[in-house]
């Protein structure tokens, strides 16, 4: 177990290292951030001063080494535009993104699992066909457009829900969250639903396909032959088998959801890291872009580790110590 985790951590660090190289040098190619800070009457000397201030006068590889050194200390540099450490900006805004993503995940499961279950149990009913059709649309439609339609319907036409921003916040265990206030929920509803659509479609399809496979298995027959009540057969014996692919896929997708929050946050002006990234891109705030990427990739790697462990808890056949994992 310890060896497995150690190996995964080493792999993860390698991935991270490669990513820092790619991101750092990639971002370095673009634009000249000095222009951003220089006023029109700025002379050569004043330009140079800005360059020195930002550390841009050194060769790229030196900048990279400095960057790596700082990274090791958890310092990802200062945002050009905000003048504060990039990481503090990210930490400040990340709870909003996480809240949005978790809300989307919960919605995907709460709505997707029952729908997929129904479609799997009665594959030929027209309701099931409608559910599958909707899941196909959920797969296909770019989520930003769904967001637009929702704003048009629920904000502009019906006026039920606010179109932009995050609602009232309350502090729970030191984290400011919005889902515990009515206003917060009203703000959260549309972005979270929009963001959850893709996952929801996936949950529906995985649940349906998985259930249809599981229901023909001998072990379900065995449970039924023993008179185990149907709710228990479906809700536990079948469910636990279904959860394996669902947890795996959702776990892998969750990182994607954080990334896709970029789109949702832009539409609904949700003050999370995604919106911050788009703003940073538009002003070429390099340290902030790099910090965001490093942050997201790190999260990904950690997430994958957590999924592997979770997976082994759900599926006893894949015990970590077994080595083959």
């Amino acid at each position: 177990m310890a060896e497995f985790i150690l190996r995964r951590i080493l792999q993860a660090m390698l991935v991270l290292f490669v990513m820092t190289v790619l991101v750092f040098f990639g971002i370095h190619v673009i634009g000249n951030p000095v222009d951003l800070f220089a006023s029109s009457e700025c002379t050569k000397a004043c330009l140079d001063e800005i360059m020195v201030n930002l550390g841009l006068d050194r060769p790229v590889w030196q900048q990279y080494l400095i960057f790596l050194g700082n990274l090791a200390e958890g310092d990802l540099g200062r945002s050009f535009t905000h003048g504060v450490p990039a990481m503090s900006l990210i930490w400040e805004r990340f709870p909003a993104t996480l809240e949005l993503a978790v809300a989307a995940l919960v919605l995907a499961l709460v709505i997707g699992l029952p729908l997929g279950f129904y479609a799997g149990l009665r594959p030929d009913s027209w309701i099931s066909k409608a559910i599958m059709g909707l899941s196909m649309i959920g797969f296909s439609v770019p989520i930003f457009w769904i967001g637009l339609i929702m704003i048009l319907t629920f904000s502009v036409k019906l006026g039920w829900l606010p179109a932009i921003g995050r609602g009232d916040l309350v502090t729970v265990f030191g984290v400011r969250v919005s889902f515990l206030t009515l206003d917060g929920l009203r703000h959260l509803a549309m972005p979270a639903f929009t963001l959850s659509l893709l996952m929801m479609s996936m949950v529906i399809r995985l649940t349906r396909a998985g259930l249809r496979e599981v229901m023909t298995s001998d072990y379900i027959r065995f449970a039924r032959a023993n008179g185990v009540p149907e709710y228990r057969v479906l809700g536990w014996h079948a469910m636990k088998n279904l959860l394996i692919p669902i947890v795996t896929v959702l776990g892998m997708e969750f990182g994607g959801v954080i990334a896709f929050a970029v789109v949702t946050e832009s539409i609904f002006s949700w003050p999370g890291v995604g919106k911050m990234l788009i703003d940073a891109i538009s002003v070429l705030d390099r340290p902030l872009i790099v910090a965001y990427l490093i942050f997201v990739v790190t999260m990904f790697v950690l997430l994958n580790l957590v999924i592997d462990i979770l997976y082994s808890l759900l599926d006893p056949r894949v015990r970590l110590g077994a080595g083959a994992a």
Binding site: V15, V18, V23, G26, I27, V29, I30, M136, I137, F139, S140, V141, P142, I143, F144, W145, L148, I149, I151, L152, S155, V156, A163, A209, R212, E213, M252, G255, G256, I258, A259, F260, V262, V263, S266, I267, L277, I278, I281, S282, I289, L293, V296, V297, F300, N304
Partner: protein, 295 residues
């Protein structure tokens, strides 16, 4: 014998495909939309790229309105007075070009990498598959976003970005199929006959990869169109002078709050219909071509 079988297999495949009315309709819709895009310059009432034909006075007209010039805007006009119908036809063309081009290039490149990985094996395979894994583990939107930040705007740039996020799917698929086929008896037999490796590759293995590749390519094309729209919406894809469907939707976003829905909603509907029809076709292809997945 194989040659004699081909036509009947194709016919059986076609019949199986059209057995699903949904898939048949989807295919027709897709073909109709492709034709509309190809002949956009002939059927569009206006050239949306030609600023002389666009009158700013006609801006923000709702669908069906008649302009001062006596022209009926069936789909309304946008903020600059462009005819939405024309803009959408040309936007559709761009979306399709982007989807098709990136799909074909990614397919070619991915197939090449996949075949190299499958046939070289050893460390080449291991290295290539690590790269594929890395690529697939990162969310497409993020990779594309960063690439576009670095590369800048432009139709060629967005195609590059889309190829980068797509090739790995093809590579992994081809490698998987090729490894399976490579272990089959008929390839052994071909080797026993001392056929040259390239011949085995092109005439025996690649044709067997085609069904799977076709399915993956269809799905990826839908993905690409959708992703391009999303990136353009974020202001990162195409230049505003040649709007794709995504950019048209983005342009309309600003007017949405004031109730001018058509600028965003109509291109969105076109995009939706396009992507859904491609996906339905892809789904059906998978059902027909891969009996294991039939459920």
């Amino acid at each position: 014998m194989i040659i004699a079988e081909r036509p009947s297999r194709l016919r059986a495949f076609t019949r199986a495909f059209f057995n699903s009315p949904t898939a048949a309709i989807a295919l027709c819709v897709f073909v109709a939309m492709s034709l509309a895009a190809i002949f956009a310059h002939l059927i569009a009432p206006q050239d949306p790229y030609d600023l002389r034909s666009v009158s700013i006075l006609d801006n923000l007209l709702p669908p069906g309105e008649v302009s001062f010039g006596g022209m009926t805007y069936w789909m309304g006009t946008d903020g600059q007075g462009r005819d939405m119908l024309s803009a959408m036809l040309f936007g559709l063309r761009i979306s399709l070009i982007v989807g098709l081009a990136s799909g074909v290039i990614a397919l070619a490149f991915g197939t090449l990498i996949g075949l190299i990985a499958a046939f070289r094996g050893g460390w080449v395979d291991a290295l290539l598959m690590r790269i594929v894994d890395l690529q697939l583990s990162l969310p497409t939107i993020l990779v594309a976003l960063i690439l576009l930040v670095i590369l800048g705007r432009g139709i060629d740039k967005i195609i590059i970005a889309l190829v980068v996020v797509q090739w790995a799917y093809f590579a992994r698929t081809v490698r998987g199929v090729a490894l399976v086929e490579n272990a089959r008896d008929y390839v052994d037999a071909a080797r026993g006959l001392r056929l040259p490796p390239l011949r085995i590759l092109f005439f025996h293995i690649l044709p067997n990869c085609l069904p799977t590749l076709l399915v993956v390519a269809t799905i990826q094309m839908a993905q690409a169109i959708s992703l391009e729209a999303t990136l353009s919406f974020l202001g990162l894809g195409l230049p505003p002078t040649r709007p794709s469907l995504g950019l048209l939707i983005a342009n309309g976003f600003d007017y949405l709050q004031s109730g001018r829905w058509w600028i965003s909603v109509l291109p969105g509907v076109v995009l939706l219909v396009l992507v859904v029809s491609i996906n339905v076709v892809g789904d059906r292809l998978r059902e027909v071509l891969n009996p294991h997945l039939r459920g």
